[in-house]
Amino acid sequence: MILLILALSTASIAAVEKAPKQPIAVRVDFVEALAPRDTTSSARYQQSYEGTIALGAELLGKKLKACGYSLDTRTSFYDASDALKAKEFGIKSAEEGAWLVVGPRRSNHYLLLVQGAGAIPTASIMASSDKVGDLGTRHTTLSPINSKMAAIAAAEANLRTHKGARYVSVVSSDCSNCVDFAKAFDQSAAKLGLKKAGELPITGEAIQAKALRDQVSDLRPDFVLLPNYSKVSSAVMAAFNEDSHPPLFVGGDGWGDSQYGFVQNGLDVQKVNGFTVRGFPPVDKGLSQFNLGREVLRSKRKALSFTPDLSILKIMEETVAELCAVRPKDRTAFLSAFEKQYAKRLEAPWGVSVFDLKRGEIHFDKTVGKGK
């Protein structure tokens, strides 16, 4: 009888152990802002964004399943003119049980998302303001922070001009990221002996380019710091296109590139030269630097063209790797793991890239440093 009982107990334990385990659903929310005015590129961006998530989920599916997890991705887009939405989505994600929130590109939007997400770990695909770097261990960004990019930009400007070169800053005062970059640049430039001849703040996108050009020319700079987005930057540069000796222009992660889109609005910038720093290399180069990226390149399943796609895949790869390594049972355990090691692996994995502007086009030059 005892033997019978023992036999039945053993058999039932074995049966329980052999029963397929239900995978733990890991909810990852993706929140991104879309520019309301540029609907065509916004639609293309949204399409690529969603396609990249689907591709990553598919390529990582088997591995994740083997580890006992499944990804529950939710994507939310909102109008970029309404930054407050980022906070509201952060609150919503936290309330609905998201383990991780992948935040928007823009630093101010990401900072608001973090306010809403509370204790939930977040990662921005591109945010780069210094404040983002100061958010602590629960939050990270895949872009190098502004001060680091600004330091590299200053060093590069020093390298491309001469000792004691004069520069003028033309900064969009309504762009907090641009203002931060300019400040950080000034600090680094001062250390390098570069001399600031003046600062000309601008507001909005409709600028008086010709008047601005005259003001800049009066200050006779060797280079002009233009840490603004490409539309404004190209408008300023175009005003110098007919000058016999236009100054060198230095960008700050806002100009875009040939793949991402250097918006010139039909303006001619063929004769001006410059360079810009960016937190990301060209997409293909970035993909080649991590396993999932290489798999995407090999599979040729999708031609990725937007830099954020790099970040999305990298975040997904690292999330799956962490889940399989740590096997957290719930999001509290996941948060702990995120804070201890996993966040660090997401910090600026591609370093700072330098792009040249020549004959109206932007081309990758080199990568300078990796990590925060």
Binding site: S81, D82, L84, K87, L111, L112, T203
Partner: protein
């Protein structure tokens, strides 16, 4: 009061509504402008109210980020982007905003009471008072008025002007009332036709009586003389009666001829044979034929012909006038109380020649009606003498004016012949 034609009255009757249309259009234009202005303000207020949350949320985002440095440029950008006159963030209770287009929105900052107040400059009412509104109101009104004027003109011409013009014809029995005419005008036409008919009959009777009486009297005289010739047996007596018959014929036949001429002249245009001649001679010729009558009636004829006055006139016709006036004067003295006197004076006046005939009779009871045909105070007259005299004088482009004789106390008639006719 100035006399106006029916067309002028018709025009005035349209000018008044036209003026009313202009005033009405102006009032309507102001009304439309105000409506535009109200719609503009309402839509602007609605737009601003719709805008307030978007603006407020952008400000909240900046406040939450603690980006005080960028709040100011963001506010400046929002002001420029949405064409705002002012954009203020304030704490505490909602503010009372100015009269311009404004909106206020409570910022979603949890327990913190903060508001964003926005104001946009409003266009003034005067900028909505535009000439196009006036034209918009005026043009259709004018068009309608023009169409109305055209239709009314046609309508009134057909139903009022033409019937009224035709009344003249109905008043002389040349046509009757038309059933298409307004009933009032038909009634007037009927009354005019009746009056004409009765007057025509009366005139006919009166003329007939007067003429027949005068002709019969003369014929009787000649008839008696003829009978006396027939009954005379003695040759000498017969010879003497034939003389009387001859004399009666000589006297009465011109009278009958005169009665017939007067009757004919009253109903036809005066036939004139004007020539330059001595007026005094013509007057003298007329008085010669009347001197016997004056003597027979015991009337003293006072004649003052002054100097020789020449004028273009028809001596025969003018003589008829003088004869008629003097004869009337002689006959009027029968009833007078100031003695029997008739004065005839010829005067050279600045505007031409004046022939004055005045008597010592009772004078004229109704000077305005004496020229009406068939109007006579005499028992034996047909009442055409003065009517024909006036026609003759007017045919000379002159005037015949009745009046009162201050000298003799009776009637006074003055014939004015114009200077143009003098030599």
């Amino acid at each position: 009061m100035k006399q106006r034609s029916a067309k002028e009255y018709l025009l005035i009757s349209w000018l008044v509504p036209m003026l009313c249309t202009l005033v009405g259009s102006a009032v309507l234009a102001f009304g439309l402008s105000y409506l535009d202005y109200s719609n503009y303000r309402r839509s602007e207020l609605e737009r601003l109210a719709d805008l307030a949350p978007a603006v407020g949320r952008r400000i909240v985002a900046e406040l939450l980020l603690g980006e005080q440095g960028t709040l100011r440029p963001v506010v400046a950008q929002l002001k420029s982007e949405y064409a705002l006159q002012s954009l203020e963030i304030h704490s505490g209770a909602p503010r009372k905003l100015g009269a311009s287009i404004s909106a206020q929105w409570k910022l979603p900052l949890g327990n913190e009471e903060k508001f964003v107040a926005m104001e946009r400059e409003s266009r003034s009412y005067s900028s909505f008072v535009q000439f196009r509104h006036f034209l918009l109101a005026l043009l259709p009104s004018l068009l309608m008025a023009a169409v109305g004027f055209f239709l009314q003109r046609r309508f009134l011409r057909l139903h009022f002007i033409e019937p009224i013009e035709a009344l003249a014809e109905t008043s002389v029995g040349e046509r009757g009332a038309d059933s298409k005419w307004p009933t009032e005008i038909q009634s007037i036409a009927k009354k005019l036709a009746e009056a004409f008919s009765s007057r025509e009959q009366a005139v006919f009777g009166q003329v007939a009586r007067g003429i027949i009486h005068d002709i019969r009297t003369n014929l009787n005289s000649m008839g008696t003389a003829t009978q006396l010739v027939e009954t005379a047996k003695d040759a000498e007596i017969r010879e003497a009666r034939l003389e009387k018959l001859y004399s009666a014929c000589n006297r009465n036949i011109p009278k009958i001829k005169s009665i017939v001429d007067l009757s004919l002249d009253s109903s036809r245009e005066i036939s004139m044979k004007a020539e330059l001649g001595d007026i005094g001679e013509t007057v003298e010729q007329a008085l010669t034929t009347l001197s016997e009558m004056a003597v027979a009636k015991g009337v003293h004829l006072d004649i003052d012909l002054g100097g020789v006055l020449f004028a273009v006139h028809d001596p025969v016709q003018l003589e008829r006038v003088i004869v008629n006036l003097v004869k009337n004067g002689i006959e009027a003295t029968d009833d007078g109380v100031n003695g029997k006197q008739v004065r005839v004076a010829l005067k050279d006046i600045s505007s031409g020649v004046a022939i004055e005939v005045e008597d010592s009779g009772l004078g004229l009871a109704d000077p305005q009606s004496i020229f009406r045909p068939l109007k006579s105070s005499k028992t034996h007259g047909v009442g055409l003498g003065l009517f024909v005299s006036k026609k003759i004088v007017e045919a000379h482009n002159g005037t015949l004016e009745p009046g009162h004789s201050t000298l003799l106390g009776g009637a006074k008639f003055t014939v004015h012949l114009p200077q143009e006719e003098r030599r």
